[in-house]
Symmetry: C2
Subunit: 349 residues, 2 copies
Amino acid sequence: MTLKDLAKELGLSPTTVSRALNGFPEVSEATRKRVVAAADAYGYRPNMRARSLATGRAMAIGHVLPLSSEHEMMNPVFADFVAGAGEIYAKAGYDMLISIVAEAEQARAYEEFKHKGSVDGIIVHAPRMGDPRINLITEVDIPFVVHGRASQSDVPYSWVDMNNQRAFQRATTHLLDLGHRRIALVNGLENMDFAIRRRRGFEAAHEARGVPHDDSLKFSGEMTEQFGHDTTRALLARPDAPTAIISSSMIPGIGIRRAIREAGLEMGRDVSVIIHDDDLSYLPNGGDEPLFTATRSSVRDAGRRAARMLLDIITSGDTTPRTDLLEAELILGPSTGPAPVAARMTDIS
Amino acid sequence: MTLKDLAKELGLSPTTVSRALNGFPEVSEATRKRVVAAADAYGYRPNMRARSLATGRAMAIGHVLPLSSEHEMMNPVFADFVAGAGEIYAKAGYDMLISIVAEAEQARAYEEFKHKGSVDGIIVHAPRMGDPRINLITEVDIPFVVHGRASQSDVPYSWVDMNNQRAFQRATTHLLDLGHRRIALVNGLENMDFAIRRRRGFEAAHEARGVPHDDSLKFSGEMTEQFGHDTTRALLARPDAPTAIISSSMIPGIGIRRAIREAGLEMGRDVSVIIHDDDLSYLPNGGDEPLFTATRSSVRDAGRRAARMLLDIITSGDTTPRTDLLEAELILGPSTGPAPVAARMTDIS
DNA sequence: CATGGAATCCAAACCGTTTTGAATGGGGGC
DNA sequence: GCCCCCATTCAAAACGGTTTGGATTCCATG
């Protein structure tokens, strides 16, 4: 059932039918009702391809994800971010196009998105530091919003991001306040922008308190359970073992907890742990009570905000860059406590 | 730069240019070369919407995910499955359209996919038992492949699935062979088809060995760490505590491990644990050595297979249902061992 | 020297919408 | 009764490709 068929059925021209269905004022209320009634009697749905072609709007948003090689980690927050964005798109009648493309081919991917006309805007995921993609898409001249930021990017752009630095500064400060003086950082890969900001926050907290930070206590790697476990085991075997650990994600946090237990120690008493909690729906940080003390910021909510921002840029046509900085909450759980006295003593001595 | 512009630039008709670029035989090799050269000199990309409209093929596959309400679990395997499918689509020049839609509106969603003409085929995720969607899409008459199966569906359809029953039967049999007689099952929600099959495998193994299975040892719920932990804690507090636990996913498995440790017991010695491992890239079951004894089947690989199957159905036009049943491997890790003698004794007595 | 056929190329129709520009009819003002 | 304007409606031209059904040229064949 095409528009033409429907028009013939009603004895009207395609023009009038189209206008009736799209709410234009030049059509009488009587015929509009007649058309609408017939439309859903016949179950008519406009063909999006044809409409897109005519209007120039694709009614779709593209998400470009870097294709992770076999051994690289698939971004674990992606599913939740997309779920949040998808909610917004669905309400606004937009589709979501996802393309997974190797790092080297990203340039072409954006250009194709534009020229193929399959999307009206793009969400950029997982920016690296000084990510070249930003300049690239800016040149292509298609609306986009970045989830995260790319330090050292020279062009202005729109983004939604969590205040990574502030979150980790607060977490670190909290541990310092509890008397901890040797704190380890288990961070994500430091080619990712968020990881760099988190380390900066970690260091800034030390500096603000005049406590030196030890480079040998800072680790970065793929955020797996194994990574958390192995680094913690190594740390606890050292004579100058830290009394607290901050982890960039809950997954290594679980490995940290395991290593602490294996060492015969207790989390929250012998070693304090703070994780960052993306509030992933499939990995909740406990139920009524949290499992870990955590900085929490919902990545699903970030997805919703980024989607709203992008749709607003597209529909308003106002491309002046806008930004949305989310603050993480600091949630207290059983995984932190005052620094053990023994450690504090030896440290002070 | 449109096809017409390019044609004018070359002094050729749009017909010839189109044919040259699409490899039709009716164009001389000389002009083809000239056209191709000009095309990528000008950076010409055909507009997909126009092409789709003309050819009737959308060159896109739709994935429909149930919109999880705030409290429901977002399917944790989704990200990896999609990554696998995306690889295949990218190679074949297809786009991936994802739409997240509430359970109640799924019917309309499929119909719209068809009539809007935005996709050539559909992948159906997370089928429930007797899932009504299967009949629905069959009626809509658009190629589709189901990831998983829906028991009690009366119409034949194409699917890619893991042999859930066999995997859990093997895991259970292995525990029985180790002397365990009271085995608990920590399963996913039993409105999901895979969960039902896994329970059947669990029960079949008992029956094959003539060991009774106790309904009070079977649990199903959202597969969170907390769920694994809480049920295990309750189990271990019972006088007739099980000596082994099978978990439907690694995430509750981690909670199971935590509860075992909290009870002062050791996993693999006092309580054996087998998990099912979807081989998720961001939640590997250990590194060189596994953390858990596990039934393993890569969900990313399933995504690749489903995508290949669907593309083949679409391009061949042969819609006779095809199926692909993947067998899980049983991987031995440190989380299992012979049943403790004490338990075995009291059981025998 | 026609004739047929292969090899190339092109004009025009088509895909299903929206949108432009014009036509039609009815009613109000004079 | 005439004119103008407004409210409706429509025919036709986009949008950017593909595809159908010829045209044209060139060469070999009889």
